[in-house]
Amino acid sequence: MDKQKRSLKRIQIRDGFIAGSPIVIGYIPIAIAYGVLAKQAGMSLFELTGMSILVYAGASQFMGAGMIGLGASALEIIVATFVLNFRHFVLSLSFVNQMKQYPLKWKLPLVLGLTDETFSVSSIYKKQVDHRYGAYFYGTIILTSYLSWVIGSLLGGVLGDVIPERLSQSMGVALYAMFIGLLIPSVRKYKRVAVISVVAMLINYLVTPYIGQGWGIVVGTILGGLAGVFILEEDKV
């Protein structure tokens, strides 16, 4: 009996590792690039790794390190971070709704590790919520992503510019390709999903010049999702 439980858990952990591996491929080069930039901005190894451990939000860390380098005030940096990361609230709302049946002691560590990437992967793999020990599946995705981000930042800070610029720049496409790779199978299964995404893209594209990248993604996501209320049929999502 105990043996069976353990093997069920092991299967969920293995599947979570496989599902999370595109995130690791995407995170490591970006985290290294962050480490390099933060070091150049004058942050110590301890500080730049600490930021990855405590903040764990890529775009805002690039921005924060950059602003520290420019000598911006703490208040400016913190407000800009809030604006850029507020989208996590919307994502977390959707994520927690998906795992409603999990107790708070599972929900809390899971949402703490919520990023654009861990959210995207977890919300496309919906079935696991109903699997026995499915929380181990999501937990593995989140933990491996977190560790690859933290270790990658540390590497960037220690080694400096180790990856040739052309390669690290090219690897910047990895997370976008992952988002596309997650979205397309859903579109294939149910074409109306494409309408939601395209609405969100267009709204983001149109409003970003006026309200900035952070709010652009928030507004695009909220309104694109709202389009879904009208066009999705029951039981199809």
């Binding site: 591996s21 595109p22 491929i25 995407g26 500080e47 930021m51 405590l54 903040v55 860390q61 520290i68 703490a74 913190i78 407000v79 971070t81 809030f82 990361n85 996590h88 609230f89 977390s92 709302l93 959707s94 927690v96 709704n97 409603k100 708070l104 929900k107 809390l108 949402v111 703490l112 919520l114 959210f119 919300s123 496309i124 052309r166 390669l167 910047g172 496409v173 990895a174 976008y176 390709a177 988002f179 596309i180 790779g181 997650l182 397309i184 859903s186 939601i196 609405v199 893209m201 709204i203 990248q213 652009g216 993604i217 996501t221 694109g224 999702g225 389009a227 879904g228 209320v229 999502v237």
Partner: protein
């Protein structure tokens, strides 16, 4: 000073992340809100992909665009996501080398 910034950044990032964990159990959402929340992943993916992908190589938006179209085609023909990611990286490497 840097630690004040880091801790401030951490707080304003973590608080919006965790609030939903506490409120989803307390509020019973009407059906349309549940539908909205189910549509959020697809909307978020859209907003995260575009127009951000155009800035993969600054000043060369077509590089990101071509890599994105390549990723769409690969994913459409059921190529595994890992290879979608790796082949998109390769596309960008080849394009930046050949266009300079």
């Amino acid at each position: 000073m840097i630690w004040v910034i880091i801790i401030g950044m951490a707080l304003v990032t973590i608080i919006p992340r965790i609030i939903p964990a506490f409120i989803v159990d307390l509020i019973h959402f009407p059906e349309w809100v549940n539908k909205w929340l189910k549509a959020i992943p697809y909307a978020a993916l859209g907003a995260l992909i575009f127009p951000g992908i155009l800035s993969v190589i600054p000043d060369k938006p077509f590089v990101g665009l071509v890599a994105g179209v390549a990723a769409i085609l690969l994913a459409w023909f059921r190529v595994h996501i890992i290879f979608v990611v790796l082949l998109s990286i390769l596309t960008v490497v080849v394009l930046t080398i050949s266009v300079g």
